[in-house]
């Protein structure tokens, strides 16, 4: 899978454990509706400790383990403060995770669903995102991933084998190719070969998909009226 190429005009990289990606998911679905396109939804498994350190909190929200600089803590705290105020506008629940999760297994389910059908994939993504951010889904637990696939209406006959072999190889190959394609975070959009990191670029993406008429708009977190 070439990180910058697809049959779709727009590629979107997300990670289940990123709240910014969660917000971008529904806005991107709105783009699909507006422009009558199918986005190529792809997983990017963030290595958060490599750029934001790591921490674990207990059920009382007390930090019980950490490896973060004060600057990293500021960035993480602001990120959740920011995400939650936008999530509130959509009546979307975002509970702060209690640890930095490894979403590799959830992303194996993603690739498995992706090769079946668009409906299967979208149902899977909607389900795991919503439940993960309500702390009702463990993305590291393959049995929960398989259940989520079933809930999404996907066939799961050979999922375990796929996750251990072909799926893992495909996911690792994709993750390995992303950095040198200039893709390092989520949400990242690739439209007509242009890489855009963050949902603040949605006005520009809209402008590109509309035919680049007039001047490109500036960045903005547009307050979209999302359709159900």
């Amino acid at each position: 899978m070439n990180p910058l190429q697809s049959d779709s005009r727009l590629i979107l990289y997300l990670d289940v454990k990123s709240p910014y990606a969660y917000l971008a998911k529904d806005e991107a679905k709105e783009l699909e509706r507006m422009f009558d396109i199918n986005i190529d939804w792809r997983p990017l498994t963030l290595n958060i400790p490599s750029f934001l350190g790591s921490a674990r909190v207990n059920e009382h929200r007390e930090v019980v383990e950490e490896n973060r600089t004060p600057r990293q803590w500021q960035a993480v705290r602001y990120a959740y403060y920011d995400v939650k105020r936008y999530a509130r506008l959509r009546e979307t629940l975002v509970y702060g995770p209690r640890k930095v999760w490894d979403t590799t297994n959830a992303h194996l389910g993603w690739l498995y669903a992706r090769q079946q059908s668009r409906n299967c994939l979208m149902n899977y993504l909607d389900d795991v995102y919503e439940r993960f951010w309500k702390r009702d889904f463990d993305p590291e637990d393959l049995s929960q991933v398989e259940s989520a696939l079933q809930n999404a209406g996907c066939e799961t006959g050979d999922f375990s084998e796929y996750a251990a072999t072909e799926g893992r190889d495909r996911l690792e190959a994709l993750q390995g190719a992303l950095p040198e394609a200039g893709i390092f975070g989520v949400p990242t959009f690739v439209v007509d070969g242009e890489v855009l990191f963050g949902r603040e670029h949605l006005p520009r993406i809209n402008w590109i998909l509309s035919g680049r008429n007039g001047k490109s708009p500036d960045v903005a977190y547009e307050l979209l009226e999302l359709t159900a």
Binding site: N47, R85, G182, I183, K215, V219, A220
Partner: protein, 197 residues
């Protein structure tokens, strides 16, 4: 009022200025510029045996640079200098003086444009003085006083948990980056619509 914390050596602060002025005029809310120094580090270069963290930081920095160029082009502004190792203290102090005279925004506009086009040495008191004189403001700084004033501004901003630029402070709420204008607009218009209590 909208408070905008910025740093003259930050390209993203420069990119925020024009849209912020336009936005404040559009919604008829005053804009106050406050200096907040954030160390500008040169982007990392590719090294042998790069760790995952180092690679991530390099690629993020490369992207960020390209992104700044993308929107600078949209705004028709030029980013022609590498701002690393440049001390903005003098220009930041001068911004406080400009604010006192009601010309902070015009001062910032002139400094940003000249500095990023490589025509202004912001470490030179002579050159900063000239910019202020062009706005009919005298500038004979005592560096001790200037540092004290900047320290006070910084402490006040840090109490509001500001740590990055450009950051907007609106009704006690922080917004990092100019992408938040739609929410700020919505927030302020809701407040305006609310009946007095």
């Amino acid at each position: 009022m909208i408070l905008l914390a910025l740093d003259f050596t930050s390209a993203s602060s420069y990119l925020a200025l024009g849209p912020s002025v336009a936005f404040s005029e559009e919604i008829e809310v005053d804009l106050l510029l406050q200096p907040f120094r954030v160390l500008q580090l040169p982007p990392p270069t590719k090294i042998r045996n790069e760790s995952v963290a180092e690679r991530h930081q390099r690629i993020r920095a490369e992207y960020r640079s390209a992104d700044l160029e993308r929107y600078a082009e949209v705004q028709g502004i030029r980013l022609e200098i590498a701002p690393y190792g440049i001390d903005p203290t003098l220009a930041h102090g001068a911004l406080l003086v400009a604010n006192e005279h009601g010309v902070g925004i015009e001062f910032a506009r002139r400094v940003f444009t000249s500095f990023w086009e490589g025509r202004l040495d912001i470490e030179s008191s002579t050159e900063i003085r000239k910019v202020l004189e062009g706005l009919d403001v005298e500038f004979n700084p005592s560096m001790d006083l200037l540092h004290a004033q900047l320290d006070e501004v910084r402490s006040t901003l840090e109490e509001q948990e500001i740590y990055s630029v450009p950051t907007f402070l609106v009704e006690g709420e922080r917004f990092i980056g100019r992408q938040h204008f739609p929410m700020i607009r919505s927030m302020l218009s809701v407040e305006r619509r609310s009946p007095p209590t």
